[in-house]
């Protein structure tokens, strides 16, 4: 994968094309910086909704100099339909990934090096990337340089909504055992996790896919 292959959504966040399929996948789960651009629209999701989301996972601004958990840069606790609503606002072709796409993304991003994230941030700086996309990538390259899986939030991140034909959406990811109550998850081997309780769960987030035009 090379940074030049990335496509940007309307918020200026990057997606990488997946090998062999006409799908690009977001480098990162949905960030609060992206959702705030949606929120700023006259017909956005509304301040009350966002305020409720922040009760599940507080906000850390990417510009802020204070330290805080990286997870607070991202929007979590959102429901699959809310992720779809955000995808709809991004434009035609944006959606939740299906199970196979998410796994392909997991493999592709895991094979990159943390250095690649820095190269990508540099590329975005000169090619219309949103300052938040660049800032978040640079920050994660500092704080999560142990592996690409960690840097791109595939490890120690969230459960990310995926669709599965005939089934309710489930979550793929490898959140820390501390957050899953000791459960070790392997999204390459097992089915997506389904929230039994329903409702909002701060462990759930989303990483969007984009259907590349044929």
């Amino acid at each position: 994968m090379v940074p030049e292959d990335c496509v940007l959504d309307r918020t200026g966040f990057p997606y990488v094309p997946l090998p062999g399929i006409r799908t690009a996948i977001a480098i990162l789960p949905i960030t609060k910086a992206q959702v705030e651009l949606w929120l700023a629209e006259p017909h956005g999701p509304g301040d009350e909704w966002y305020a409720e989301m922040l009760t599940h996972n507080p906000r850390l601004g990417w510009r802020e100099t204070r330290t805080g958990p990286d997870t607070e840069l991202f929007l979590s606790g959102l429901l699959p339909q809310e992720a779809e609503n955000f995808a709809h606002w991004l434009g035609a072709g944006y959606r939740l990934p299906n199970l196979a796409e998410w796994r392909a993304a997991d493999r592709a991003l895991s094979q990159t090096s943390p250095k690649w994230a820095v190269q990508l941030a540099d590329y975005l700086a000169g090619h219309g990337g949103h300052p938040a996309a660049i800032g978040v990538l640079q920050r994660l390259a500092r704080t999560r340089s142990a592996s690409s899986q960690s840097l791109f939030f595939l490890q120690d991140g969230f459960l990310e909504w995926v669709t599965k034909p005939g089934n309710a959406p489930g979550g793929f990811g490898r959140p820390s055992e501390k957050r899953t109550g000791g459960m070790i998850l392997d999204p390459q081997a097992f089915d997506p996790v389904v929230s039994i309780r329903g409702g909002r769960n701060p462990l759930f987030s989303a990483r969007l896919a984009y259907s590349l035009p044929t």
Partner: protein
């Protein structure tokens, strides 16, 4: 050593920005916001009327356009969420001196913008004094601001203008209000008209590093490159008369000279009689009070050069200015510390080269017509 000349211009009128909260929670404040903008239109002249933007939106409108289309613009933007980033990221760089946010409820990403380098640009006015926006200690409340105060908040003035030249010594500046010292010349307020300042800089400190800083009432510091300008026309050496040569010769020997005007002895450097006349050296009539005069004394002739600058440069590393008490002092450039340091206090008639002396005129000559 070179002398560089700069021209400083008054700060151009600032086109600042006012942000209006049009979120659902602020709907009831629409008439208040409109009357605030109308008030600013009355209070501020057109060149400094702010642009109006909606919190969350990227467009900015000239104030008069906003007033003409307010209904349409309010309804088009109503419901925007309370986030600053889209609006502030769309501002031109460098940022306007002042961005004032009128908000009814807390803004989600306000914390991002209340830190450097944005914090001094930013002011928050709480529309409802019972609902803090940036925090009770940081919010301005509408209750505490009358229209002139609000206009001042939107359009702060320069509090200080500074010209900083690394390794430089100011040699010439406008006489009123400026405070000058090695490395900096400071004017306490906005400049009303262009001014010219001269600086001497040792060759080892070239190329020149210089900047104009404007310190605004809101604490903001803006910087720009100063404009270089030509040196003013040089004066000329003027001949002194034979009797003047004789008197200067005596001063050179550290002897007092009897004055043909007041009949008193004038010690070296005392140009004026008590009545303000200069009977001893009549050629100096018309020289600027508080200035310096270079004097060359040769065997059969003497000449003078009235210095227009406040500091006289003698060599690559020495110059003469005045200390806070008005006494002439020698400035010396210290290459090790790379700065100018004040040296010895000079006498009023002091030798600076083999044949050249520096005469220091009193800041205010004795009043004409006084007792002699």
């Amino acid at each position: 050593m070179s002398v560089f000349w700069f021209r400083l211009h008054p700060a151009p009128p600032q086109r600042n920005v006012v942000l209006l909260d049009v979120s659902r929670a602020a709907e009831g404040f629409r008439p208040v916001l409109l009357s605030l903008v109308e008030g600013l239109a009355e209070e501020l002249p057109e060149p400094v009327q702010p642009e109006i933007a909606f919190l969350g939106g990227t467009a900015r409108y000239p104030l008069q356009t906003f007033l003409q289309r307010s209904e349409e613009l309010f309804s088009h933007n109503a419901g925007r969420g309370r986030v600053l980033a889209p609006t502030l990221e769309a501002l031109p760089s460098p940022w306007p001196v002042r961005v004032v946010l009128f908000a009814a409820h807390p803004v989600f990403d306000l914390g991002d913008w209340l830190q450097n380098p944005w914090q001094n640009h930013f002011a928050v006015v709480a529309l409802d004094p019972t609902i803090p926006i940036a925090g009770a200690d940081q919010d301005k409340s509408l209750n505490d601001l009358d229209m002139p105060a609000l206009a001042r908040l939107v359009n702060p003035q320069p509090r200080e203008t500074r010209l900083l030249v690394a390794g430089g010594l100011p040699v010439s500046w406008p006489t009123s209000g400026w405070r000058c010292e090695p490395g900096r010349a400071v004017y306490p307020g906005p400049l009303a008209a262009p001014v010219r300042l001269g600086w001497c800089v040792p060759s080892e400190r070239e190329p020149l590093k210089s900047v104009v800083e404007t310190i605004w009432e809101n604490g903001l510091r803006t910087r720009q490159k100063p404009t270089r300008t030509d040196a003013p026309a040089l004066g000329e050496w003027q001949p002194l008369t034979g009797p003047e040569l004789t008197r200067l010769d005596a001063w050179r020997m550290r002897r007092a000279v009897p004055c043909p005007n007041c009949q008193h002895d004038h010690p070296p450097g005392q140009v004026f009689c008590a009545n303000g006349e200069s009977g001893l050296l009549p050629s100096l009539a018309g020289c600027v009070s508080g200035g310096f005069v270079r004097v060359r004394i040769k065997t059969f002739q003497a000449s003078m050069f009235p210095v227009r600058e406040q500091v006289v440069v003698h060599s690559e590393t020495t110059a003469t200015g005045r200390n806070a008490d008005g006494q002439p002092i020698q400035w010396e450039y210290d290459s090790t510390r790379q700065c100018w340091v004040a040296g010895r206090v000079l006498s009023l008639f002091d030798r600076i080269h083999a044949e050249e002396y520096l005469l220091t005129l009193p800041p205010v000559p004795p009043s004409a017509g006084g007792p002699s």
